[in-house]
């Protein structure tokens, strides 16, 4: 175990876990705005500034690829100080090569999303290890630098990660560098109390990163950080993938349907009668209506 517990941590020491999106399909599509090399130089400057702000700060970088995820940098592992960037870049290059080789094997049919659920899960495992290291530990947070579109198949896994992060009070910050908003990351930062930001001008990425995401959690309380704009909490139905604001839920598996069905397509339960009518008629004013709501 790393000798983290021997250090004396104050309330402004952070552990920043950065998830970098290395999906080649995404970077290929946005080449004109912000090439990957430029993006990495912004990120490197940002990581260095995090380590400068407080010498006890710790940075861990995970690469979120198209076919795999891996750790590429951990500042707590001993290495010479002035070769941090080289070290990171070398590992990142290895990772991208490996990711690419996995890609060729499987002949992907152009699904452009990256494996955010995997890197989020790994980041949370790492953070749990820091929690276990002793009563004094740096305050962890996760920063997702993400651009690829959301992968619909990852919904359950990402939500599981979000709830686990919420339980262990780890905020998930999100900086979206793609062209469209990410509904997953909007929910992630809303539920865990992190910051969600989609920068207008990607040329100034370093400035966005350093002004919004560099401050430790304790100091955040004193800053005016971007407020979450409307987060869409409406669900989409399983049958037509429409976004609905009223629908039917299977009482056994909680699948969402936009129309009344005879049988649940997910779990195969056969539904009883007339519940739909029951709930749409105004409820009779029975005595249990007056629930004790504390004012």
């Amino acid at each position: 175990m790393t000798p983290v517990s021997s250090k004396l941590y104050t309330d402004d020491v952070s552990l920043l876990v950065v998830l970098i999106d290395t999906n080649p399909f995404f970077w290929n599509s946005v080449k004109s705005n912000l090439p990957f090399s430029k993006f990495i130089s912004h990120v490197l400057a940002f990581l260095n500034s995090i380590l400068l702000v407080n010498q006890q700060n710790q940075v861990v970088v995970l690469a979120t690829g198209h076919n795999s995820c891996d750790y590429v940098f951990d500042s707590s592992v001993a290495q010479s100080q002035n070769q941090r960037a080289e070290h990171l870049l070398q590992k990142l290059e290895e990772f991208v090569d490996k990711d690419e080789s996995l890609c060729r094997e499987e002949s992907v049919d152009g699904q452009g999303f990256s494996l955010l659920s995997g890197s989020l899960s790994m980041a949370l495992c790492y953070i749990q290890r820091v929690f276990r290291s002793g009563p004094l530990h740096p305050h962890p947070r996760i920063l997702c630098l993400h651009g690829s579109p959301d992968g619909p198949g990852q919904y359950v896994a990402i939500m599981n990660s979000i709830f686990s992060a919420q339980r262990s009070m780890v905020p998930i910050d999100a900086c979206v560098i793609g062209t469209q908003h990410s509904a997953f990351l909007q929910q992630a930062s809303y539920i865990t109390g992190g910051v969600y930001l989609k920068p207008q001008l990607l040329d100034g990425l370093f400035q966005y990163l350093s002004t919004v995401f560099a401050t430790d959690l304790h100091s955040r309380a004193f800053l005016q950080l971007p407020k979450p704009a409307g987060v869409d909490f409406r669900a989409s139905c399983f049958c037509h993938k429409n976004t609905i604001d009223m629908g039917y839920i299977c009482s056994v598996c909680l699948s969402i349907f936009c129309k009344h069905q005879k049988k649940c397509s997910t779990c195969g339960s056969v539904f009883g009668q007339a519940q739909a009518q029951d709930s749409s008629t105004p409820p009779n004013p029975n005595p249990k209506r007056k629930t004790p709501m504390d004012a």
Partner: protein, 422 residues
């Protein structure tokens, strides 16, 4: 059943077994500060190693073994779960709840556990509802009605902690029955009774009440704090619940928390049904409106019922105006891990891990080294699907909180299943 760690003052009253004899002798002349040591039994957390040195018991492998047992019992097969539950917690606040064999008293300990349980319950069952009931002076009082707000339950519970009179199991069950009987049939009706007394003081035949509960498909479970009672055992057997007697506070907590994960859905207990629900949108910031739940004007925040456009402060809830169940999609997603549990990891036998070149050196999840001091392979587990190795801590975290396998999630699922390599 008797409690192992029953307090010393009871030890003074009754003649106990031989091994307690010297304990009892000591108990008479003990000062308060000595008693704290005797009660905590701090020596039990130490063990002697081969060289005769005292060291703390290695809890890690012990915890891990315990967790494996839990895992095996819970997620052996993919079963349907009762995700919508209506649970009444009945708390015995009779004279017996004032006993101080649990420190500081039974009712305080119970209240503390119930508070933690309520939070855990709503975390795991976001669409379910809880109600609280107390048994005191031979009558049953409704503390809170069924509702989905943990804070209001906890507030009500903490305000009412006094004990007196006798407990009446029948009155409690009758009251629960009258409340639960009007709940929709797709929900699972459950009662959890935390019973301190050794008797029940009933107005009429309790057997009839038990049959009534059975007919209404109410699953009754009892956790006793003193000793086993036939009537409780009978009640649980008849209604399909579980009956346990706690030996100490830690055990009590375990028993209470066993009721937090959703029970398997039993077809005859709850009929599958489609429930109409609304997904309200968050109201725009800075808009002033009167909320329907507190009848107060509030600025910003809040949600709008999609059917009647009433303003609601919190989700999940039932619209006060039109009665529509209102949830948000994360509430539903919170329950999905019960439906798609991840496979338990396999233990890696030390003999397999003899070739150190072949095995990964670090835990795939947290990068912690998997080697014991001296470069010997330590204990580890392996995911049967993605063949990645994990440390024991990660194993527990992954199955108890995260519900994702980082290994499976970080490799694209190929159609030709299972050929991915680390």
């Amino acid at each position: 059943m008797s409690r192992q760690e029953s307090s010393t003052n009871e030890g003074r009253k009754f003649k106990r077994g031989d091994e307690d004899e010297d304990d009892e002798e000591d108990g008479k002349g003990r000062e308060a500060w000595e008693r704290t040591y005797a009660d905590e039994r701090s020596w039990e957390s130490l063990q002697e190693d081969e060289s005769g040195l005292l060291r703390p018991i290695d809890n890690k492998t012990l915890y891990h073994a315990q967790y494996r047992r839990r895992l095996r019992t819970s997620t052996t097969t993919r079963i349907q779960k009762g995700l919508i539950r209506y649970l009444y917690i009945v708390i015995d606040l009779s004279r017996a709840a004032g006993e101080t064999d649990y420190k500081p008293s039974r009712m305080v300990v119970v209240a503390r556990q119930v508070e933690a349980f309520i939070r855990e319950f709503f975390d795991q069952n976001p669409l379910s509802q809880i109600g609280l009931l107390t048994l005191k002076d031979g009558v049953a009082n409704s503390l809170t009605d069924l509702g989905g707000s943990p804070e209001s339950h906890i507030k009500a519970l903490m305000g009412k902690l006094t004990s007196s009179g006798d407990a009446s199991l029948q009155n409690g069950l009758d009251l629960v029955h009258s409340h639960l009987n009007q709940m929709p049939t797709y929900g699972h009706r459950e009662v959890l009774i935390l019973y301190s007394s050794l008797n029940t003081c009933d107005p009429s035949d309790i057997m009839e009440t038990i049959q009534k509960c059975k007919a209404s498909k109410i699953r009754c479970s009892v956790i006793g704090l003193s000793a086993e009672l036939y009537i409780c055992k009978y009640l649980c057997q008849e209604t399909g619940g579980s009956y346990y007697v706690a030996v100490d506070e830690h055990h009590l907590k375990e028993l209470v928390f066993e009721h937090a994960p959703p029970p398997p859905a039993i077809a005859e207990f709850a009929i599958a049904n489609l429930i109409k629900m609304g997904f309200p949108q968050r109201a725009a910031e800075g808009v002033i409106s009167i909320c329907s739940c507190h009848k107060e004007a509030k600025v910003g925040g809040g949600y709008t019922c999609p059917r009647c456009k009433a303003r609601i402060c919190d989700l999940p809830t039932e619209c006060q105006i039109c009665g529509l169940t209102l949830v948000s999609s994360p509430h539903l997603a919170r329950s999905y891990h019960h439906l798609f549990p991840i496979t338990p990891f396999d233990d890696v036998a030390p003999s397999v891990s003899s070739d150190p070149r072949y095995l990964a050196k670090n835990c795939f999840g947290c990068q912690q080294t998997l080697l014991n001091p001296g470069n010997m392979p330590g204990s580890r587990v392996c995911c049967p699907k993605c063949k990645q190795y994990f440390c024991l801590d990660c194993d527990i975290y992954i199955h108890e909180s995260l519900h994702n396998c980082p290994g499976c999630e970080s490799f694209r699922h190929s159609k030709s299943n299972g050929t991915v390599e680390g």
